[in-house]
Amino acid sequence: MAEIRVQHLRKAFGDFVAVQDSNFVVEDGEFFVMLGPSGCGKTTTLRMIAGLELPTGGQILLGGDDVTMLRARERDIAFVFQLFALYPHMNVRKNIGFPLLAQGMPSAEIRTRVEETAKLLRIDHLLNKSVSGLAGGDRQRVALGRAIVRRPKCFLMDEPLGTLDTEFRDLMVHELRELHNRIRATTVYVTHDQMEAMSMADKIAVMNHGVIEQFGSPREIYDRPATMFVADFIGSPPMNFLGFGGGLAKGAREIIVQGAKVAVPEVREDIAPSDMALGIRPEHIRFDDASKLRGAIYGTEYLGTTQIVAVETADGIIKARVPAEIRLSTGDHVGLTLSSARLSLFEKGSGRAVRTAIHDVASERRAQHG
């Protein structure tokens, strides 16, 4: 197993820049997820780590060795494809043993290793079956088996659950994470599904237009989004934005939104007057008739324990997640109270998050733990 270090990585296809200046470190044994919409450059980054594409610039270090320009087969990595890429003309046993055959391993040893791996994945009863008859989840396990059997430096997975049914996917998310906890292999996992990313990752990189917008733990990314894109991409429903104008001074604890005073985490930098946005997660909104921030109920989505309520305000519709018991009807006027300690502030122009007390609390906490 090994650490993966990506430095100033860049990939251009002609005029189109797929990845620009990516930098991140995946520590040994970490489960790292690259998350983003399609076309954001996450798969290209993964393919460069694998050696299936060569970068236009930058470096990739695998366990300290520069592998940037090495061929895929010289990198000692394993790759799980979205389509699994199981060889239809081989049975399960041969599929799993295929990478070992390339190493010229004696067949008795291949047999033992394949059987060990199959047991680990609980597919030992399928070894002599043809892969074409397997169910989605089992195909996935065979593909994983082919990756694990080599004991490579790291695993790379390209949307491996993308073609599975929803219920299978939840099962496999759980299984993958459990497998990772057992074998502790450095893993880079690419997906566009935030649920997969949030539930499996140690670290997430959110990408958009070839740029890493934020790199951090699932909690950091959810609670302290670095950009409006991340805030909007993560969370279901996503973060709400309310526009406000004017500058911010260091130490400010209050802003004016739609004529109402809203307490916010203490601002830690000076911002020149410009268009700003206040970011609020749906679960940080409560209904309170005393509040000056008002809106009319536009519609509700009942989810059992909670309900999502769309409220029309002067600045467009925002969504709140409130307990299911509250009775509401469309057209009702409500006051909105926001959980001050959990709010984010953004510069609308750049989309960048304004530095506030929530960031400092986080870094203090990290300093104590580190």
Binding site: A50, G51, A72, L83, A85, F98, P99, A102
Partner: protein, 316 residues
């Protein structure tokens, strides 16, 4: 009205099935009549073969096959009577017609020529076609579209349109009447078909298979050999049949460029007619034997051929 139309689209009614079945059976019968005619003629005696009205029922004879494989000379009855007893069926039949067997005919070597040239050129065309198709399918080839169009353009005219230049070139190069020359020629004609057919098949095979193999520690060639080829067998088989049928049946170039040692069966068979009268049973026997290899090859690969005709039917 609209209801019945919709119904017939979903599931053909028993009536329309019957009509369709009848048309197919009729068409099959019409198509097979010439073949049956040839097959029957090959077992007739020469007088039966030219009888009018044609004989549907007749006493089968192997005389046609005897005549196909031998050359004969006419002799006087006295001379024939002075010979010892006949050595076999063919000898006996020949003597009845006041002839004796002079030796083997050229049919067998011509047939062997056909086998060598047709299978040889098919192998070359499919081999080159597979590699080029793989290249076009997987790599960024400069001017790929123009090259593919150029390859296809060799099929725009009938090959025989370039017969004279090729005849002159072959004479200069010493390739006239050689098996090598014919293999090269048929390969050149077939390779364009092979590239285009196989490119379609290989495009359908996801590149993840090779990428997976290359990550697993194989070179590209090994990955190609172990993952792409096994999945392209359907396409390769279909392409091989098409190439083989062309090379096997080709008449014009063979007639023009081969006359002796490298002559193939198609230009040879008509020459039988000239030897000692119009020997239709021998011609029919030659044609019947000539049909066998293609028949066997096609039957062996019929599953692949059927799947191959519906392009892009590679399972994913």
């Amino acid at each position: 009205m609209s209801l019945t139309t919709a119904h017939s689209v979903v599931a053909p009614s028993s009536n329309s099935k019957r009509i369709a079945g009848t048309i197919i059976v009729l068409y099959a019968l019409i198509s097979i009549v010439p073949l049956l005619w040839i097959f029957a003629t090959s077992f007739k005696t020469p007088p039966d073969s030219i009888a009018y009205p044609p004989k549907i029922l007749f006493q089968p004879s192997l005389e046609g096959y005897c005549n196909l494989f031998t050359t004969r000379t006419r002799q006087t009855p006295e001379y024939i009577n002075s010979l010892g007893p006949a050595t076999g069926f063919c000898d006996e039949t020949t003597r009845k017609r006041n002839m004796v067997i002079a030796g083997p005919s050229n049919f067998l070597p011509r047939f062997v020529n056909s086998l060598i040239i047709a299978f040889g050129s098919t192998f070359c065309a499919v081999f080159l076609g597979t590699l080029s198709a793989y290249g076009f399918s997987r790599f960024k080839v400069p001017l790929a579209d123009d090259l593919l169009f150029f390859i296809l353009s060799t099929r725009f005219m009938p090959p025989i349109a370039v017969a004279i230049p090729i005849y002159l070139m072959y004479r200069e190069l010493g390739l006239s009447d050689t098996a090598l020359g014919m293999i090269l020629l048929y390969t050149a004609v077939n390779v364009s078909l092979a590239v285009w057919l196989l490119k379609g098949f290989i495009d359908e095979i996801p590149r993840e298979y090779e990428e997976a193999a290359m990550i697993d520690g194989y070179t590209r060639l090994q990955a190609f050999w172990r993952t792409v080829l096994p999945q392209a067998t359907t396409g390769i088989a279909a392409t091989a049949i098409f190439c083989l049928i062309f090379a096997w049946n080709e008449y014009a170039f063979a007639a023009l460029l081969t006359s002796g040692t490298a002559q193939t069966a198609p230009p040879f068979i008509p020459t039988i007619i000239g030897e000692g009268g119009q020997d239709w049973p021998a011609v029919a026997a030659g044609t019947t034997i000539f049909l066998v290899p293609i028949l066997v090859f096609t039957i062996l690969l019929r599953k692949q051929l059927l799947r191959g005709i519906t392009f892009g039917a590679v399972r994913k």
